[in-house]
């Protein structure tokens, strides 16, 4: 298993990435995200910012076409299957698997290199404690508060030992007070692990809190033929 803070960690490199729908280019980005840095991509809904995340994560819908390369810590991952990219994904919904316990969600994410049931549960329990949720292992995710669910989602991503983080407006559905708290927690953990972070949002406060480079996308051209 690679140590995320190893010296060869060079971050996430987006080399002339451009995503198009038919003949219309939605996004084009050429940027390096150093370990521990955040790149914020801002734009209104429909501007294609989630599409960019899908491309980097390896889930691009086949209706889109993409150019350019993505490198992670020096390795080209452009064509790699999503399973091997080690992308830490956070969406605006926590998307906890509803049929598993809170702990089960985390154990599912623990890398296979951690062998043995006890060791895996131990790792998951530690990750829960790390986000202030000791003792939540056997809880039903549906019984958690919004803030607790967001913490579990973060813990689940972190315990999977990601190489970089992809954040798709992860704070937009939280209450104002809570949003600030979770935002700080996420950025702080990413920085501590020296993970490059790509954040897409339409909230200027997110961009401000990220303290990083900012790319603003133009609104999608309105041609009246949208779905």
């Amino acid at each position: 298993m690679t140590d995320p803070s190893a010296t060869h960690a060079t971050g996430l490199r987006l080399e002339n990435v451009a995503i198009a729908l038919g003949s219309r280019t939605l996004v084009s980005v050429d940027h390096d995200i150093a370990p521990g840095d955040v790149l914020t991509v801002m734009g209104p809904s429909g501007s294609g910012k989630s599409t960019l995340l899908a491309f980097i994560g390896g889930f691009l819908d086949p209706v889109f076409s993409a150019r350019g390369r993505v490198h992670c810590n020096g390795t080209d991952i452009t064509g790699a299957p999503p399973q091997t990219r080690r992308a830490g994904l956070l969406f605006q919904d926590p998307l906890l698997f509803p049929h598993m316990s809170v702990g089960g969600n985390l154990v599912f994410a623990v890398p296979p290199s951690v062998a043995g049931r006890t060791a895996r549960r131990q790792r998951a329990g530690d990750a829960l404690g790390d986000v202030g949720l000791d003792g939540f292992f056997d809880r039903d995710p549906d019984t958690l508060s919004g803030g607790q669910k967001a913490r579990v989602a973060l813990a689940r991503v972190l315990v999977s030992d990601p190489a970089f983080m992809l954040l798709d407006e992860p704070f937009s559905k939280l209450d104002a007070g809570l949003r600030d708290q979770i935002r700080r927690l996420v950025f702080e953990r990413a920085k501590a692990r020296r993970l490059p972070v790509l954040l897409v949002t339409h909230d200027a406060a997110d961009a401000e809190a990220a303290h990083g480079a900012l790319i603003e996308l133009a609104p999608a051209a309105s041609d009246g033929a949208g779905p």
């Binding site: 899908a54 994560g57 390896g58 889930f59 819908d61 086949p62 209706v63 299957p81 999503p82 399973q83 091997t84 990219r85 080690r86 992308a87 830490g88 994904l89 969406f91 919904d93 998307l95 698997f97 509803p98 049929h99 598993m100 316990s101 599912f108 994410a109 890398p111 296979p112 039903d140 995710p141 549906d142 019984t143 689940r156 991503v157 999977s160 990601p162 992809l166």
Partner: protein, 559 residues
């Protein structure tokens, strides 16, 4: 591997259909080497047209198909337009939905037991209201005009059309259209009819066609409730097909061609009616009348729906009661005594057909669910839904009259010495089970939030693990419900079992229909009760298993 799923589904649905149609058409023109028919001729058709009362039978099948569909659709449309978005809607919806699982034959028997001159309704009102001390001499069931048959079909097609409509409702902005038209001053019923129904109807059109095809070519319900002199065309055809005189099969195949034509004409007439109905409705709409006083119409629409559901439930209850009744004379509303005698007496004869029914239904359902899952998962991988063409294909076995290709399929299987085998029987059930499983499963499957899979894959889970550990458990209830639907469809199949099984694989359904409506009510009660019990057990399991498995998971346990 999944790449082969859509072609496989296509093959499973279309191959029996195409082979069967060919196997029907060739003998209809005299070509059937197995029975010595080597030369093409129009003799079978000449024989067919020489049959007494043939045109009456054919015309009746046509009218029954159209009337059943028109009444069922009017009831569903009236109900949805009048009550959508209310508590009464949900109440009646929950009352009607389970009826989809009741096999046609069981519902028809129950209906006969309710409306017959010596039936339960007459008993309830006799002698105090009617003065009848003995059953009146009226031909209510098996009436020559076929009213009982139409009513018996309507009470089963209404739940089907309602469920299809309910599945289509989320795809149209129904509630917003209703609110908008109401704020413009329209009455609830016509406001919905003018704004939300047209796009809704477009979504359910294929299902309506399936009802026409089914009702115009139905055998089992027509055998139980339909006219007898002459019987409707499909019933007569099955009689000829099973005639010991093998040469009758040429004529039976010619008759099956006529049946296909009858169903096709019914469909064409319906399409013509659609063309007329559209402009007429537009004309009414353009007058600007608001139809605000629709209280009575709404009551009627809701009342008819509830009455038809209660009639079926009542009929099923009466069936169950007959199966355990001792002496039960007219006009007593309840039997004098309850006894297990009929069950004990029929028990030994029941176990064989019961086992056959369950084995075929389980196998056909398992195969269908596997194929449907593979197709949907393939669709999920490629991001392409088959679109309307694929939907029409799935509906294909439901749009062609069963008789039309089952006759030919039976002859081909006989020629290949493969008739009356478990494999043939299970596969022919798959032809009818797969469409329902697919239709039932596709909506929840496509509505699934794919971001869960993205999260799981990003966490490093390989495709198989994502499918089995994340998607399947989350959709377990939908899969089990689809399986229960498939199981119910298989249990209710009459004609495929009878023809492909060549009478050597009796099931609960074929045995029940064979008893006919004139048979011993207690024995009919036993068979029909079992017929409805099997689907009920399926649906109960589909509800209980996830509830038990996920009892500590509030978001998906379902109960």
């Amino acid at each position: 591997m999944l790449r082969f799923a859509p072609p496989l589904a296509l093959f499973v649905l279309a191959a029996p259909l195409a082979c069967g149609l060919m196997g029907t058409v060739l003998p209809a023109f005299g070509f059937l080497p197995a029975l010595g028919g080597y030369q093409l001729s129009t003799r079978p058709f000449a024989d067919l047209f020489g049959q007494p009362g043939l045109w009456r039978s054919a015309l009746q099948a046509l009218m029954i198909g159209l009337l059943t569909t028109a009444i069922s659709l009017a009831m569903v449309a009236g109900f949805v337009c009048a009550w959508y978005g209310t508590r009464a809607f949900r109440l009646i919806q929950h009352l009607v939905s389970p009826l989809l699982a009741v096999p046609h034959a069981a519902a028809a028997f129950g209906f006969a037991f309710m409306i017959a001159p010596s039936g339960y309704l007459a008993r309830l009102f006799s002698p105090w209201a009617t003065g009848w001390e003995r059953p009146p001499d009226l031909l209510v069931v098996n009436d020559p005009a076929g009213f009982a048959l139409i009513a018996g079909l309507v009470i089963k097609e209404v739940p089907f059309l309602l469920l299809v409509t309910l599945a289509a409702l989320p795809q149209v902005p129904a509630l917003r259209s209703l609110r908008l038209s109401q704020s413009l001053g329209y009455g609830r019923m016509m406001g919905f009819m003018f704004t939300a129904w047209p796009p809704l109807y477009r979504q359910i059109r294929l299902a309506v066609f399936a009802v026409i095809a089914y009702a115009s070519a139905n055998v089992d319900v027509a055998f139980i409730l339909g006219p007898t002199t002459p019987q409707t065309l499909p019933v007569r055809l099955v009689g000829w097909m099973n005639d010991p005189e093998l040469s009758m099969r040429f004529m039976a195949c010619a008759g099956a061609c006529l049946q296909i034509a009858v169903t096709a004409v019914a469909l064409l007439i319906w399409v013509a009616l659609e063309r007329i109905a559209g402009p007429v409705a537009e004309g009414i709409c353009e007058t600007g009348r608001r139809f605000r006083r629709d209280g009575f119409a709404r009551l009627a629409a809701g009342g008819m729906m509830a009455a038809s559901a209660l009639l079926v439930f009542g009929g099923l209850g009466v069936l169950a009661l007959w199966s355990v009744s001792g002496l039960w004379q007219f006009p007593s509303a309840l039997p004098d005594a309850l006894t297990w005698r009929t069950w004990q007496r029929t028990g030994p004869a029941l176990s064989g057909p019961l086992a056959t029914t369950i084995i075929i239904a389980l196998a056909a359902t398992a195969i269908s669910v596997a194929i449907a899952l593979a197709c949907l998962q393939r669709e999920n991988e490629t991001g392409r839904t088959g679109g309307n063409r694929a939907l029409a294909l799935v509906y294909l076995p439901l749009l062609v009259p069963q008789i039309g290709f089952l006759f030919g399929l039976q002859l081909l299987l006989i020629a290949g010495d493969a008739d009356a085998s478990w494999a043939a029987l299970i596969l022919v059930h798959v032809v009818f089970v797969l469409p329902y499983v697919f239709l039932s499963l596709s909506a929840p499957w496509r509505a699934y939030d794919g971001r869960y899979e993205a999260v799981a894959a990003a966490l490093g889970a390989p495709a198989g693990r994502v499918f089995w550990r994340v998607r399947m458990p989350m959709l377990l209830r939908a899969v089990l419900v689809a399986a229960a639907v498939g199981f119910a469809v298989s249990v209710g199949q009459y004609l495929p079992t009878l023809l492909v099984g060549a009478g050597r694989f009796p099931t609960i359904t074929t045995e029940a229909v064979a008893l006919g409506s004139g048979g011993d009510r207690r024995v009919i009660g036993v068979y029909a009760f079992l017929q409805m019990l099997l689907p009920f057990v399926g649906f109960a399991l589909a509800t209980l298993v996830p509830a038990l498995l996920f009892r500590n998971r509030r978001a998906i346990r379902g109960l």
